[in-house]
């Protein structure tokens, strides 16, 4: 009943149908891949740091010149702590979404090859409390565990590692008490952190986002001008501008790095700016793409309705109901979109393979093919609804009219 007019429609309008099928195929290929890319970037942006990002801020000073680093640290920290609203503060080499300071290769044996590249957070007393780090097993460092730095890292010592790093390094056994080496420096794990992202999360792939180590140290002269502070969420801007004033009076010739002295929330936004731009662009293209596809489907359907007025009139005169006519156009649209999707699957997978090859990204999962198909079917039905209703309104008398 329904099939015969459908076949005729396909045969009579070969070229137009072919163009529409190809258009839908390309739309489908781009749509699936764009949605997948957007979803991937959204996941990175939304990744949890496990920190109270809006109530934590980094303070970065540079160019302290000669003089005792320990004295500068002590004076600056005392100044920061004296600002009303500051709850905790400590020396910390960097913060998540700040500058990468100590990314090192670590080995499981003294002379072994690198097992993983991880970020060291090197912090003085107060920094754990300021960050609000909590261990899920083991313990936090005691006062005696804060050891002096030898160069950029402590010579050896006790450290906290994140769960994801310990799962990677020691998958089968309990990580507490395990040791690892950075060249000749030996470190022993005393506690496991639920999560703590590296300074530039995602820069070494998605699996290593949380591969961080916290080393408690006495900063001394080797780690100067880099702090973390905690204050209440709504108060951060006032606190930060006070920090700048206080620093200017304590160490007048030091340079206050405004771009890096920000809340972690602000640093996160700046860090992900590029992903946000790409998401915005892809989302814009997807919207435009759906709009253009709807133009094409609706425009051609209107044309067919006009062209087939007499044909419709005859079918109506021979007993077809309005619903039959509407269904005919809807079914025709469904069959064209389906053909488009069938070709589109090839394009989608092809694009995904090319992308995977050049950017080492995972291939398109099946669910995106499904979602893309559903949205195009839906779009097709919405776009054809108007013309189909107009077709259904054609009176049987059109059969004997011209045009």
């Amino acid at each position: 009943m329904l099939l015969q007019p459908l076949v005729i429609a396909w045969r009579r309008h070969r070229l137009a149908t072919l163009l529409l099928v190809l258009e839908i195929a390309i739309a489908y290929g781009v749509l699936c891949n764009a949605c997948y890319l957007v979803a991937g970037r959204l996941a990175t942006i939304r990744s949890q740091s496990g920190l109270d990002e809006s109530s934590l801020a980094a303070v970065q000073l540079s160019g302290s010149g000669a003089g005792s680093g320990a004295a500068i640290n002590a004076a600056v920290l005392a100044g920061i702590r004296s600002i009303p609203g500051v709850q905790e503060a400590g020396v910390l080499n960097t913060v998540p979404f700040g500058m990468q300071k100590a990314a090192v290769e670590i080995a499981r044996q003294p002379e072994g090859g690198a097992a993983a590249k991880a970020d060291f957070y090197i912090g003085g007393e107060g920094s754990i409390e300021a960050l609000g780090l909590r261990v899920i097993s083991g313990r936090l460092p005691a006062t005696d565990d804060y050891l002096p730095l030898a160069g950029s890292l402590p010579a050896d010592g006790l450290v906290l590692v994140t769960k994801s790093l310990s799962d990677y390094l020691w998958p089968q056994s309990t990580p507490l008490g395990k040791e690892f080496w950075v060249d000749k420096r030996r470190f022993r794990v005393i506690g496991i952190l639920e999560r703590l992202p590296i300074a530039r999360p995602g820069s070494r792939g998605n699996s290593s986002i949380n591969w961080s180590i916290f080393a408690p140290v006495k900063p001394g002269d080797a780690l100067v001008g880099s702090y973390v502070l905690r204050a209440s969420e709504g108060d951060m801007q006032r606190v930060l501008s006070n920090v700048e004033k206080v620093v200017a009076t304590i160490v007048p010739d030091i340079v206050f790095d405004r771009a890096q002295s920000q809340t972690i929330e602000t640093l996160r936004k700046a860090y992900f700016q590029r992903d946000i731009s790409l998401i915005a662009l892809l989302a814009g293209v997807v919207m435009a793409l759906l709009l253009v596809a709807a133009f094409g489907i609706g425009g051609l359907a209107s044309f067919w309705v006009e062209q087939r007025r007499r044909h419709i009139g005859i079918r109506r005169a021979l007993g077809a109901t309005r619903r039959d006519i509407r269904h005919q156009f809807q079914a025709e649209n469904f069959s064209i979109v389906t053909a488009g999707i069938a070709v589109g699957v090839v394009i989608a997978i092809g694009l995904s393979l090319i992308y995977t090859r050049y950017y080492a990204a995972p291939t398109l999962p099946l669910s995106y093919l499904l979602i893309g198909g559903l949205s195009l079917w839906l779009l097709g039905q919405v776009a054809v609804l108007g013309p189909a209703i107009r077709a259904a309104a054609v009176e049987p008398v059109a059969a004997i009219r011209f045009g």
């Binding site: 070229l15 163009l19 000669a66 435009a288 253009v292 596809a293 992308y355 950017y359």
Partner: protein
């Protein structure tokens, strides 16, 4: 005849305004997105020194002190000793050492607060080699390269900030703890990308936006830079953990870039031999172990090797052009509908003696007109797109603009696209049989 076709085309387009609007919008959206991304691509992928890039080369050596497991390419920069050895040998027409470091800068006789700036440590050939021109003064001399002279060249923007744009040659700025005498002020200079410092592209996973930053504000002789700011230089890569106690001049870490100018292919050949010879000699001396692989890439090869255009920009361009393809298919479908709707008109013209060629040509004129309209609308969308892109805080935001060439490209691309979209519908239109259509009247 063309005028008549144009008139017909205008009438045809005016007859069904909705369909025409849909077609123009469809072409405009495709053109707008693809030209926005293409303009950015054009800004980022160009040659930073069109007249000189063919003569500029970037030598690489392999100073691994131990045999490393998996490396096929030498590191992106050299250790101090190798770079200075090659520079001192002077086998190229010109040569410049490159290293940058953060430094605190102040002008003692101004009220501008101290700032941390990036200092480029280089050698006097840098300026003529890269065609950097001076607003005031000039470069330091080769003697000053060797004598660690306390001299400096500053950028035009720093001169503006510190001295209000006045001729500041002879004045003093304080960098870290040293007083440097200004010998030259540069004209505004913005190489795209910042080619002489492009390195490490292989580690960036396509996130290369920082290659498009601005040049340093202060430039000092290489030896002077090391004298006054030694602790601030950081290694690019080390084979052993970098020991801060060992001076960067003695360390095996790599951190110095070297650019050479070689005027013809014979010089390139002999420099290659020289480079290989140096590497062999160092292996014989036991300083290098795996040191036999050397490279001498030209500037553009070096940019390609580092994949300077950010992967997001490439991706955007691909997506935009796929979208353009789809828009064209869409326009073709709609054109077909619009042409065939006028079947009786075509039939009449054919019956009155128009050849199929006439009919084809007439419809191509209509498609071309559509292309012009789509191009104008697409240009507006491109301007909007570029405006939105400039709002993004990327290092290259200020480079994004539409020049005359790209504007012409927009109109051309739009015309070509519309004509392409029009071919099939126009062929179909001229196959309309005259009699059948007349009977239907």
């Amino acid at each position: 005849m063309f005028g008549y076709y144009l008139e017909l085309a205008l009438k045809g387009l005016a007859r069904n305004k909705i369909l025409t609007t849909l077609m123009v919008l469809s072409i405009a959206m495709g053109i707008g997105t693809s030209m926005t991304t293409l303009t950015i691509m054009h800004a980022l992928a160009g040659d930073p020194l069109p007249s000189r890039s063919a003569y500029l080369y970037y030598p690489q050596l392999d100073p691994f002190p131990t045999v490393a497991a998996d490396h096929t390419e030498p590191p992106d920069v050299m250790d101090y000793r190798s770079a200075v050895d090659l520079w001192e040998a002077g086998r190229a027409d010109r040569q410049a050492l490159i290293a940058s470091s953060p430094i605190k800068v102040r002008a003692p006789d101004t009220k501008v607060p101290a700032a941390m700036l990036s200092m480029l440590s280089t050698t006097s050939d840098f300026f003529p080699m890269f065609k950097v021109s001076f607003k005031f003064g000039g470069a330091w001399t080769p003697e000053e390269d060797r004598s660690r002279a306390r001299v400096v060249v500053i950028s035009s923007s720093l001169n503006e900030l510190l001295f209000g744009g006045a001729n500041s040659v002879g004045r003093i700025i304080r960098a870290r703890d040293a007083d440097l005498r200004i010998v030259g002020v540069l004209e505004p200079w913005r190489p795209v990308p910042l080619f002489y410092e492009v390195m490490g592209g292989g580690f960036l996973r396509g996130n290369t936006a920082d290659f498009y930053g601005r040049p340093e504000d202060i430039l000092a002789p290489f030896s002077t830079g090391l004298d006054i700011n030694a602790p601030a230089f950081s290694p690019f890569m080390c084979w052993q953990p970098h020991d801060e106690a060992v001076s960067m001049m003695k360390s095996s870490c790599v951190w110095v870039g070297l650019w050479v100018e070689l005027g013809d292919s014979a010089k390139v050949r002999s420099y290659r031999e020289f480079l290989d010879g140096y590497a062999k000699q160092q292996v014989a001396l036991g300083r290098f172990v795996a040191g036999k692989s050397t490279r001498l890439r030209s500037l553009m090869e070096w940019l390609d090797y580092n994949g300077v255009v950010p992967s997001d920009v490439r991706l955007q361009t691909w997506v935009a052009f796929s979208f353009l393809g789809m828009c064209l298919l869409n326009a073709a479908g709609l054109l077909l509908a619009s042409f065939l709707r006028r079947g009786y008109e075509i039939g009449t013209r054919r019956a009155l003696g128009a050849t199929t060629g006439d009919v084809f040509f007439q419809h191509m004129v209509e498609a071309g007109l559509l292309g012009v309209l789509g191009g104008i609308a697409g240009m507006m969308l491109t301007l909007l797109g570029l405006y939105l892109m400039r709002l993004q805080p990327t290092p290259y935001a200020d480079l994004i603009r539409l020049d005359l060439g790209m504007s012409l490209t927009i109109i051309a691309l739009s015309m070509v696209s519309a004509l392409l979209a029009g071919v099939l519908p126009a062929i179909r239109a001229c196959r309309v049989a005259p009699s059948l259509q007349l009977k239907a009247l």
